[in-house]
Symmetry: C2
Subunit: 142 residues, 2 copies
DNA sequence: GTCACTGCAAACCCTTTGCAACTCA
DNA sequence: TGAGTTGCAAAGGGTTTGCAGTGAC
């Protein structure tokens, strides 16, 4: 995603546009493998060596609150972030904290239709994510 | 779940049966609301006041490795555990780390059938969990 | 009797916070 | 200019680890 549209996104949320924020947002988008805060920190530091860890955390928090990125839940200990937009679910490795994205429009449709039809008492659904656990075969990346 | 069957489960996994392990396993089963390690610690401490936090963590780790309980992923900062067996998914509150169980055999069947039919290249599915996010209405418990 | 487990406390590590300096609007 | 943001460093809090003592088998 280009810098201009990232800046526009920040402005649309009423956030001040700082180099740090643009770079963090760009890094989360670029690192499409659900980076940890540290991954993002290292990536941004390449272009802006003066940035601090605290700032990265602050910015990530702000971006999550504005729903520009997502915090995703994993089995692991660290938080991971997801800048990917659109319908996707996650493949989680059983024996490591490897994650991959699984795009499946029709599966989302299937579940969405089901949840719409079958109301859940006392709960209003706003979204859902399917975590599929299993094992990656060796040939796969990483 | 009664104590005998808990003990049997431990033995089946080749684990030494200690009062601490039995009580932790019992607590996770009894606390059906996805307790944190601290919840479990407090519960067990009622019956065994000498137990320590470290032991609870150690035992939880062991039980997860033996697949007697599950670690579940939440948006929150703390780890939560799930001793519930059987097909169920989770309702996650958007604005707190409240979790509830959602039993739906047919939804699981729906997704399971889909995943069986549509193979994922480079990945062998062993299970899945649907995280449904949204809002609980006030009338609901808590 | 042996070896694994417990209890305790310190270490660890990721994340948050406080505050002075700075900067975008 | 001034409200909001950054950088830094220290604090915080959940989890892990090391080790001596204990207990299950």
């Amino acid at each position: 995603m280009n810098t201009e549209s990232l800046i526009r996104k920040l402005k649309e949320c009423g956030l001040k546009v700082t180099p740090q924020r643009v770079l963090v947002l760009k890094a989360v988008s670029a690192l499409n493998d659900h980076p940890t805060a540290e991954d993002i920190f290292r990536k941004v530091k390449q272009e802006l060596p003066t940035i601090s860890f605290g700032t990265v955390y602050n910015i990530l928090d702000t971006l999550v609150k504005q729903r520009l990125i997502e915090r995703i839940s994993t089995m692991g200990d660290k938080m991971r972030y997801d800048g990917i937009s659109g319908d996707h679910h996650h493949l989680l490795s059983s024996d490591s904290d490897m994650i991959e994205v699984y795009y499946v429009a029709d599966l989302s449709g299937l579940i969405g239709t089901y949840l719409n039809k079958k109301k859940i008492p006392g709960f209003t659904v706003s979204g859902f994510k399917l975590n599929i656990s299993g094992e990656f075969s060796k040939s796969d990346k990483n």
